[in-house]
């Protein structure tokens, strides 16, 4: 028995010799490149339409952001309200403004250059751009039949992200391909003028309009690209390119006359019934899964750690003055004398940290009101019948049944505020209507904030500037 074992061992011994020789003789490179099992390498991935189908979803995954209670992973859209709504006259933290808290600086306009929310959003958005550029760099893998579709989707999201960035930060770096940290430092640290960024946004959105249909609601669609482009045009028109009002009107008209979208009868159901007929583009979340859910519904409620996006006294007094009942989103939200907004109250009450409420980016009511804005074309009043009919459609759902005779700019701005409160529109509306400085200074005076005109733009994250070395990336004025 023992001798048998020994013979066996001797055999093993000599086999070892053979194995070694084989290793030495055969190419070491293969031996030293074990094939990964738990992931795939991007180098070999994008080969055909199927790969792009999977890859393209990743762009939306980036927009959805990570559900993380800390501000460590890419939070993306989930923290956008802090940079937009919290800087408007709509929202406040339950704890009030506090210059020393990264979460409570926004409402008092004392945002630090190293604010982690600003930094995280900046990082998240460029991560989404990376994902979009990755698809665009690999379009050669697509079949001719589907190439346009992939390109349209990637460009829609890229345009959306640049639109957010340029409105929040002003001139920003603008990579249009996947860039390397070593070779493309100039791209990473050069702030491109806003008109160049806008030109790119328009170009990308036109590609999207041409190549997409209206199949999806939480992926890019033709109508979404049209609506977004209309908003881009309105923004530029308000800045002096008056001819773009008509372009915006035409785009809104195309969406409206397509007949594919309509207002929900019940205002509340816009937010509780997902992907309803009013939704043009939303960011999708699925509850009860850490990797697909969001926690802004939790963080903006009294369940959250920080209890943000509560209603200001200002917006509450407007609701009260207008006798808004349908769109008053503080109702049934009084806890300890404080008023949350309930628009995105969690759809997952047993696990609010993993909420599934979709985030609405573009909806039909917004398009109707944009149509009015385009018709108004920077003027102070309009009595255009089509515009009034769209305006009244939105108002009548809110319980205001008297037909309007005309629409003033101020009325439109307030209507948008009521209709779209806590949907991250208010700050941009104020800027577009050229009312931001006026309204926000008054608001800041009332709440103890320190508003300066330069507060309309956020600071470039200090971390980026520290890394910029010789490029010496400039900061926005006032920071």
């Amino acid at each position: 028995m023992l001798t048998l074992i020994f013979k066996e061992m001797k055999a093993i011994f000599s086999k070892t010799l053979v194995i070694f020789s084989v290793i030495v003789i055969s190419s070491c490179d293969d031996y030293l490149e074990p094939e990964p099992i738990s992931f795939i390498s991007q180098e070999f991935f994008f080969a055909d339409d199927d790969d792009l189908d999977v890859g393209i979803l990743n762009i939306y995954d980036g927009l959805q952001g990570d559900n993380d209670q800390q501000i460590v992973d890419f939070r993306s859209t989930q923290i956008e309200y802090m940079l937009t709504e919290m800087r408007s006259d709509n929202a406040r933290a339950r704890g009030g403004g506090d210059a020393t808290s990264d979460f409570q600086q926004f409402e008092v306009y004392e945002v630090n250059t190293n604010n982690i929310i600003v930094q995280n959003y900046y990082e998240s958005m460029y991560n989404v751009i990376f994902r979009a550029n990755l698809i665009l760099d690999n379009l050669d893998a697509a079949s001719e039949a589907r190439r346009g579709e992939f390109e349209g989707e990637a460009k829609f999201v890229r345009a959306y992200v640049y639109f957010q960035l340029v409105r929040l930060f002003g001139p920003v770096p603008m990579p249009l391909k996947v860039i390397s940290p070593d070779d493309d430092a100039a791209i990473a640290f050069t702030r491109v003028a806003t008109d160049v960024v806008y030109a790119q946004i328009i170009e990308d959105l036109q590609v999207a309009v041409e190549n997409l249909n209206n199949q999806f609601k939480t992926r890019a669609s033709k109508a979404a690209a049209q609506a977004l482009l209309a908003k881009v045009y309105l923004t530029l028109a308000a800045d002096g390119q008056m001819a773009l009002y008509e372009e915006a009107r035409l785009l809104c008209d195309e969406i409206i006359s397509s007949g594919e979208y309509e207002l929900m009868d019940d205002y509340g159901e816009i937010f509780t019934i997902e992907k309803n007929d009013e939704i043009i583009f939303a960011i999708d979340y699925i509850e009860n899964n850490e990797l697909t859910s969001q926690n802004f519904s939790w963080e903006t409620s009294d369940l959250g750690d920080r209890r943000l996006n509560y209603t200001t006294e200002n917006i509450r007094s407007v609701w009260d003055g207008r006798e808004e009942t349908v769109r008053d989103v503080r109702l049934a939200s009084i806890i300890d004398g404080q008023f949350m907004n309930t628009k995105y109250s969690t759809n997952n009450p047993t696990g609010p940290l993993q909420s599934g409420n979709d985030w609405i980016v573009l909806r039909y009511a917004d398009v109707l009101l944009m149509y009015v804005e385009a018709v108004l074309a920077g003027g102070s009043v309009t009595n255009n019948a089509t515009a009034i009919s769209y305006y009244d459609a939105v108002r009548s759902r809110a319980g205001f049944l008297l037909p309007s005779l005309s629409i003033t700019k101020a009325e439109l701005l307030e209507e948008r505020r009521m209709e779209l409160s806590f949907e991250n529109q208010r700050l941009f509306d104020l800027i577009r209507f050229n009312e931001a400085i006026n309204v926000l200074s008054t608001h800041a005076d009332a709440t103890g904030g320190q508003f300066q005109n330069t507060d309309l733009l956020l600071p470039i994250p200090q971390n980026e500037r520290n890394l910029s070395g010789d490029f010496n990336m400039p900061q926005n004025p006032g920071y």
Partner: protein, 1045 residues
Amino acid sequence: MKNILPRFKILRIAIGSLIVLFGFTGATPDLHAQNQVITGTVVSEDGEALPGVAIRVQNTTIGTVTDVDGKFSIEVVEKDAALVFSYVGFKPQIILISGRTSFNIVLEEDITQLSEVVVIGYGTQKKSHLTGAISKLTNENLEQLPFARVDDALVGQVSGVQISSTSEEGVGSDPTILVRGVGSITGGSGPLLVIDGAPVDSEFFGNIDMNDIESFEILKDAASAAIFGSRGANGVIMITTKEGKEGAVKFTYNGFAGYQEGHKSEYFQTSINDHVALELANNEFVSDATRIKQLLGDTDWEDIVINGGYVTSHSLSARGGSQRTKYSTSLSYLHDEGVLLVDDFKKYNFKARVDTKVSDKFSLGFNINPSYTKRRRYTDALRQMVRQSAPWLPERHTARTLQFVNFEDFPDLQPGDYVWQSHFDDVTVQDVFFDDNGNIAGFNEFESGSISNTGNAGPLQRILERETIDERLKVYGNVKANYKINDDFSLKSNITVTFQDLLQTVYRGTESTNFAGDALARERNQSRLRFVENLFLNYSKDFADHEIDAVLGIAGEQEIDRTTEFEGNGFTNDDIPRIEGATNIFVREGYTRERRLISFIGRVNYAFKDRYLASISVRRDGSSIFGSNNKFGTFPAFSVGWRVSEEGFLSGSSIISNLKIRASYGVTGNDNVNLPIPVQEFYPYLPILRSEPTAVEGGTAQTFNPINIANDNLRWERSIEINPGIDFGLFDNRINGSIEYYRRTSDDLLLDVPISSVTGFTTSFLNIGEVRNEGIEVNFKTFNMNRSNFKWSTNFIASTNENTLTDFGDADGTVFTPSDGSDRNTEWIASVGNPISNFYGFVYESDVPFEFRARPFEIIGSKSQDVYVKDLNGDGIINDDDRTILGNAYPEFIWSITNEFTVGRFDISFMFQGSHGAETRNIADLEGFSLSLGANATTAEAPRSEFLRPRVLTSDIIQDASFVALRNLNIGYTLPGNILEQFKIQSARVYASASNLLYFHADNFTGWNPESIRQGGDFTPITYGYNRGGSPIVRKVVLGVNINF
């Protein structure tokens, strides 16, 4: 620590066996009948029988070894032959037979051990021929000491090696081992562990039984470690296990049992009386809340949580064998209750080793060593205990404490329930007072108001209702084969398989926090399978004045890691406290990863006239970690030595008995990568796409998520070390020692550095920077007395190390803010000219006066949350420019001194160990009761508030981490042989041993363990020295017995 008596016993047995195995057994059967038989015994000066002594007929290959009783029998042809008796640790003796047939030989101990053989990488070398910095620690009688882990046995034994218990998890944790400081910036700063020639994961330190260890060899300089190439960059600890020996089976039993307790911090020992005194001093009255606290009484939470525990260990080994086949097997069991409330550690270990000579030329060895450990960790951190407790908070509710409970808010409380501070909020208490006769004299009514300073669940339930259990199965298996081609050449092969499996189950029960809904279970299963194969051709030749030893070899390694993790919640009770009981699984993660290494190795050791020494080696490693252009790295080493004492001019010296001057130069590499995503660590050169679900159109779909920027240019991190040294022996080697200097420069450090996020990512993994470690190591051993009934020796070791970041590219001056999951964002800076990691922050000036604290009487012993800091640049404002380097966690000087006495049958030893110059960022006590408890907030009226900064960000929490400890004290008594013989016991020793009986730390240190350092996660070598509580220093007293039979 050691007694002189059995000093060389273990080594001599093994070497004896080796000699038997390799040298002589094959030759013995060839003898003729007419030969004369010589018999006899070999004993030491103490009269102790010496087994395994090699006996050779001079100028022949005929030989034998002594048996267990020191007896031998050998046949010789020639009547005037001479017998050579040799034995490691003893001076060799040559006896002329001169016709006699019986001899009783007394071998004289050679205290210099110059003939000692040292295990070096892939071979052995005479200690006298070493040219690198290799420390050898022979297991003379370390196994007779109560070490729960083998690495504990190394503490204070080797200069330049720093071993500290840094963990926060309590008993059974792996210590941190540093050889000559921190060279690498990424995770892998620990030395390589090599067991019987096979590199294994450092976790295997935990499953070796001290009784199985023959010796440790620590390769400290790069020249010695370079033979392990990429694996040796942070030094190498080699363990040689015991081989069986020829003869009847011999059993050894070692056992001990004892009690241990944890070091408590006076800083936390507060009392209700302190509340009263503080209030009387400042307010001249005692508040209602404090009166209620008085009624609740004093509870010492440190006593409850640091509750001490027993430790028990049994180990039984059997060794023996025939001329051809030898075996060594052992079984051991350890149960250590730790010193914290719930921590507990059990270890079962089994080892078997068989070595056999198949033929004269071919020998085989098998080694298998499975072990199973089960550990319940202390889940919560010690600081949490302090944070949730207060001296007035009772341990559990009793009929008495329930009198003071707010039943409106907590209607269901019963005696025996856990206590929360907030149970006592907003209650009105009527306290009876009595007259001198004991009759009720009246009632006082107190309002507690908001008596609590935390709304969290009580400390006891946070500890008892959470459990984290680590079950580990580790198996080490090894097969080796030697083939002797001829007298000069031999071929050796070694195949080692290690497997470890960790099953970690975490359960946070329904009562572990305020909300039953927080209950969750997690299960993590992690396995690692590693193969190591090597094949070596050895050449060894002595001729005339030349001795040459050469090896040429090839080695391969494969490692496969697999991990799965699940986390679930939805528990409504604690009936099934495992993942199976969860109704919702919300984390499903896992990965498989594989790395490979191939190496080509060559080395020549050369000695001329036994005094001019040189060694040259080169290793070429190919690693799967790097991109195709940079997979291979070459690691050369060169060293020389001169044994001056062998020269004629020193031969007659009565002072200098041994003197050697040596110097070495070596290069080692590092391919250990530390990245936040484990799977990326093995493929940092690949752009990784990970599968993730994403929400799309109302459902979930698979997508692939890019997680990194690939760096195909990634290359080996490299260390270059020079190491001159001197070894000496004075006065007939009564004083031995060595002094050496080393300077190790590591460059191309592998680091995840921050990059512009416009790339889509915030970090990229690069080679960057250079770090230098330099220091001096000294080592003295003196034999103060060496009489047969009284021996005394002293061992002193000391080392200095200075760590300097000499280059950090664009990242110079980077401030790192590791996250520990809370908002205490303390900072570290990496700045050229300073150590790799430095505490960074503001300089403390003074506290906020008492009156400006929000609720100063609420938490006794606490400090203000904010402090005034210094305006360093004098510009009248405090901003980021007023931050500076506040210290570092690297000791400048570590030392130990060990004294050993043998007086008759008694042996006594003790070791003092010290560490000086390190600082620690001790956040534990502050967090314990000064932070985030609004009571310590500064009120709005505080003057100069623009000069206030949170205390955590200042120098005030940087404390001196120096210590001096009486690491161990041992007293043993060896029982007289005549008593034992009746019980068939060969020898027996009983002992008492104590560790950390004395432990002195700096006055300003307020925690439980100055050596504790948080590691892992954001805490890397670059953010080093964060002390968030840690497990307390353990003071232990045990009684033990060693029996051989």
